[in-house]
């Protein structure tokens, strides 16, 4: 026995979560520039909810904001006080795809587990519920089946799209926080069989080792010739997590704030120390992005940092594709290694 939500009840249900359950409801919307992203549900965007494909921008900004204040340093007469930013807004993100949920799992491992936790991430993660939605058809350039992220997991509720509504799969103990007696009907429906196969395929068998052996492959040179180091790939990536920490003085001459901002391995200053820049060439920076996604992380944590959403391929202004790079290396590996 499961639950069913009629299609015409979707918006009323989301509004119920917002008004009755006092949750910040985040939904995928198509904005005025035809770019899809996750935004807080409002009267203005309620008619623009976008469920046709995965969004252009990933929902990672709700866990790792592109800019957030970490501390306020308040100078007192003889001392200094450090105030932490503590946010506790309860929210629910609706419309996460399987790849987005897997990406969140990757971030959870990194920010809650490996080498210790990060408090800013932890606070936001623990106050967020997730509702996934299945993909009726593949999105542009996506290859989730190859990355084994096509099976939805790590959600609180998951909506399987049926003809006139959604079959609701329960994924966690916290799901009751999202329960709605008025709209959830009991049903004997089941979840859908796997959706249409992704056209883009990538053989990931021992991929991390193949990359490691082809660190000096000529593809890095040839692909990076047209790379603009624009860092669009790292901005749309749902698992790119690198950040920088900066201090700013308030304009009162004594207090200051510490901010955390997204950073990108595609930028030169990413590895700048006083002695020089470690990844000076575009080639090395492109290689860092691709190998971090498909090789380094897997070597260290036995988990690919890439979830196969294909956003970086779609957004690249010069059509660089990490799938094409991987395929070329698999086809023509360096000799003798």
């Amino acid at each position: 026995m499961g639950y069913f939500l009629k299609k015409n009840n979707l918006l009323p249900y989301l509004e119920f979560l917002q008004k009755e359950k006092n949750l910040n409801v985040i939904v995928p919307v198509l904005n005025r520039n035809s770019a899809s992203c996750f935004e807080e549900l409002s009267d203005a965007n309620a008619k623009n909810i976008f469920l046709d494909s995965r969004t252009w921008f990933s929902p990672k900004k709700f866990f790792l904001p592109n800019r957030e204040r970490e501390f306020l340093f308040e100078k007192k007469a003889s001392s200094l006080e450090i105030h932490e930013t503590i946010k506790h807004s309860q929210k629910v993100i609706f419309g996460m795809r399987s790849c987005d949920l897997h990406a969140l799992n990757v971030l959870d491992k990194l920010f809650l587990d490996f080498y210790g936790y990060d408090l800013l991430y932890r606070n936001k993660r623990h106050t967020t519920l997730t509702i996934g939605i299945d993909c009726k058809k593949e999105s542009e350039n996506c290859f989730c089946e190859s990355m084994q992220t096509d099976k939805p997991d790590f959600f609180d509720l998951f909506f399987w799209e049926k003809k006139d509504g959604y079959f609701i799969e329960i994924g966690s103990e916290r799901w009751e926080e999202l329960y709605c007696k008025k709209f959830f009907e009991e049903t004997r429906e089941t979840k859908n069989k796997s959706a249409e196969k992704c056209k883009t395929r990538l053989n990931t068998k021992e991929l991390e080792k193949i990359f490691e052996k082809n660190f000096e492959h000529k593809i890095w040179e040839s692909e990076s010739e047209r790379c603009l180091s624009c860092s669009a790939c790292t901005q749309v990536c749902p698992t790119c997590y690198c950040f920088t920490i900066k201090d700013f003085f308030l304009l009162d001459g004594k207090n200051s704030e510490r901010y955390r901002e997204w950073d990108s391995c595609q930028l030169q200053q990413f590895t700048k120390v006083h002695g020089g820049i470690f990844r000076q060439s575009r080639k090395s920076r492109l290689r860092q992005f691709v190998m971090h996604k498909l090789s380094y992380y897997k070597q260290e944590h036995n988990l690919h940092l890439c979830v196969g959403c294909g956003r970086c391929i779609s957004v690249c202004p010069v059509q660089i594709s990490l799938v094409q790079i991987a395929k070329e290396i698999q086809k023509n590996p360096l000799e003798g290694k």
Partner: protein, 279 residues
């Protein structure tokens, strides 16, 4: 640490002494303001602290004092960027923020009964000095001790008093070189790497600790290999940009390693598997 305390929150510390070492290098003796933190604090040589200069930012600085020194630690800072220049303007009594110690230091307990070669260049002497102090305090546990240090000019010679003291005590074979000598410089002129072949070093049962500019360390390791050293005998302190110290911010990533967590000290065998050039 309390479970809900941010690992990125700095602890307040006070500068108790500032010593100008050379033109661009100062050593700050600092002490945690909180007595409990001060009491709990301990570190292994080679580890580093994240130092906050409030309003300017946070930077990784290796600890240059002895791990046996109680109630304070020393940070030797080269004024090269915004944060380090801001730190150079601070005086005794000023407050800074500290987090740490982070990373993996020199595995000194594994060096017992072995000969040790310390090899440093420029401000790399800061982390080497801490290791020298640790070894010197229990020198009966170790074999022969050698110290190589290179700097740009005699005025740039870091920790001159320490080096003179160790030389006087006679436990160390000390080789100091300067790239650009002044007329009154009586020691060796040239690169410290040129002295390796002349030092008559024992190769068997010896470890080499290196810290300095990457190019110097690469040449040094090659010269050590030329006289018979193996990669597993090297322990190298690496430098990278860091913002968090806890394996999150991604800046110090070299291949699968994070320098802030798995390093900054790597063994030569580990280095051979890493992509050091543009990796």
């Amino acid at each position: 640490m309390h479970e809900f305390e941010s690992p990125l929150k700095p602890e307040l510390a006070e500068i108790t002494r500032v010593k100008t070492e050379t033109g661009s290098l100062k050593t700050f003796t600092v002490s945690f303001s909180d007595k409990k933190t001060l009491k709990k604090f301990s570190f292994a040589p080679g580890k580093f602290m994240m130092v906050s200069i409030f309003g300017f930012g946070e930077m990784p600085i290796s600890i240059s004092s002895s791990p046996y020194q109680k109630h304070s630690l020393q940070l030797t800072v080269n004024a090269v960027g915004n944060i380090s220049r801001a730190m150079h303007l601070l005086k005794t009594g000023d407050k800074i923020g500290l987090r740490g110690p982070f990373g993996r230091g020199y595995p000194i307990q594994r060096f017992r009964k072995k000969n040790i070669v310390f090899f440093s260049g420029g401000c790399g002497m800061a982390s080497i000095r801490s290791a020298v102090y640790a070894v010197n305090a229990k020198k009966e546990l170790f074999g022969k001790l050698f110290l190589f240090h290179g700097c740009k000019s005699p005025q740039e010679l870091l920790f001159r008093e320490d080096i003179e003291k160790w030389e006087k005590e006679g436990d160390f074979n000390i080789f100091v070189s300067v790239d650009n000598p002044t007329p009154d410089w009586k020691g060796y002129s040239g690169f410290p790497t040129d002295l390796i072949a002349r030092a008559n070093l024992p190769v068997e049962n010896t470890v080499v600790l290196l810290c300095g500019p990457q190019i110097m360390m690469n040449i040094a390791m090659q010269k050590f290999k030329d006289i018979g050293f193996k990669p597993e005998q090297f322990f190298v302190s690496m430098e990278r940009l860091m913002h968090c110290g806890i394996g999150k911010c991604g800046h110090c990533n070299i291949g699968k390693e994070f320098v802030c967590v798995h390093g900054p000290v790597f063994s030569g065998t580990e280095l051979e598997k890493m992509h050091l050039a543009e990796g």
